[in-house]
């Protein structure tokens, strides 16, 4: 085996390891005293490799975090909100909305209602105050669409590593 072939094998191993890590641990992450060591044992690598890989994915922005996805409205309240923003104002209005700590997702979507965001707060009154404040700041009406029923069981998303994704840069 040449050096190049060895390197190639390492790259494939790493890619496979990332894929395994992501597909097996988006849910049921170990709740043991040494979760990373437990994952490492299961995948047949060293604890430090798992930690370093997660750190790398975090640095690249692929990993948002290791942690909990809370059920909507169980811990605090949230709503999906939409605004119809004149195109030339979209960026400045989006910046105002993003500046609120209560906002986690804020996307442009292709529709008459072109700005969509999720806002969360500890209680309904606090959430309403935030939305009122946003309307006052932007002079645009907000359509608030709080979740009424959740039909989806979140098991994470089966991921294949795709060409063009950050891992292949």
């Amino acid at each position: 085996m040449t050096i190049d072939e060895v390197r190639q094998a390492d790259v494939i191993d790493k890619t496979e390891l990332i894929q395994q890590l992501m597909n097996e641990y988006q849910h049921d992450f170990p709740l043991s005293t040494t979760p990373y060591a437990d994952i490492a044992t299961r995948l047949g690598v060293e604890e430090q490799q798992v930690i370093e890989l997660l750190r790398e994915l975090d640095t690249k922005g692929i990993l948002s975090r290791v942690g909990a996805v809370f059920r909507p409205n169980r811990v605090g309240v949230s709503t999906l909100a939409a605004m119809a923003v004149p195109e030339h104002n979209l960026e400045s209005v989006a910046d105002i909305i993003s500046s609120y700590a209560a906002v986690n997702h804020n996307y442009e979507r292709e529709h008459h209602f072109n700005l969509w965001f999720v806002a969360t707060a500890e209680n309904a009154e606090q959430l309403q105050n935030i939305l009122d404040d946003m309307e006052a700041q932007t002079n645009i009406r907000i359509m608030s669409l709080p979740m009424e029923k959740d039909y989806h069981i979140d098991l994470g998303f089966p991921l294949k590593l795709i060409k063009g994704g950050l891992l292949h840069d």
């Binding site: 005293t33 930690i51 975090r65 909990a68 811990v75 939409a82 993003s98 442009e108 359509m143 998303f157």
Partner: protein, 174 residues
């Protein structure tokens, strides 16, 4: 004793990349490793935590296209279709929400992911075919710019980490 609010505040920052991450959390909130682990287990059992594990940004992995499909579904079919849509692995959310008439007639919302626009449209057609959707009004809202994306912060403290993601501009399909 665990202070739930404090635990959530720390958890929403993400689990430390440390050999004993739950012990690190315990130290921050004056609790013990065992109590932290047991409390997270309890929140999972109660359904307060829907999922505990790696939270991945799909766009950065190459799933560059995502769209929200919104449907106007008659009351007698909304539960059935909501569940049917929620079962596909490319659907990451399936929620019933209120209509806002006359501006907004839609009451069921799904997020669909795909590698590109065609992939998303194919996935939508798959849903329509497999869940027997006939004569239902729907719209597909592709996402364009992402102005901000991070985990939800229900408890707003000083230490919050803002992971603003800007200008991940997608190429529009021609």
């Amino acid at each position: 004793m665990i202070n739930e609010r404090e635990l959530i505040a720390v958890l929403q920052q993400g689990l430390p990349l440390d050999s004993h991450p739950y012990a690190v959390i315990a130290e921050k909130i004056n609790s013990s490793e065992e109590e932290v682990i047991n409390y997270i287990k309890l929140m999972k059992e109660k359904g307060d935590i829907k999922r505990f594990g790696l939270v991945v940004r799909h766009r950065k992995l190459g799933y560059k296209s995502n769209a929200m499909v919104v449907w106007d579904i008659p009351y007698d079919r909304v539960n059935e279709l909501g569940q049917c849509f929620g079962q596909f692995d490319f659907v990451t959310l399936s929620y019933r929400r209120p209509r806002h008439l006359p501006d907004w007639p839609y009451n069921l919302f799904c997020m669909i992911h795909g590698q590109d626009r065609d992939d998303v449209v194919k996935n939508l057609q798959f849903m329509i075919k497999n869940c027997n959707v006939n004569g239902v009004k729907y719209e597909l809202l592709f996402s364009n710019r992402c102005f901000k994306q991070r985990g939800a912060l229900y408890v707003h403290g000083e230490s919050e980490k803002n992971e603003t993601v800007v200008s991940l501009k997608e190429k529009r399909a021609v």
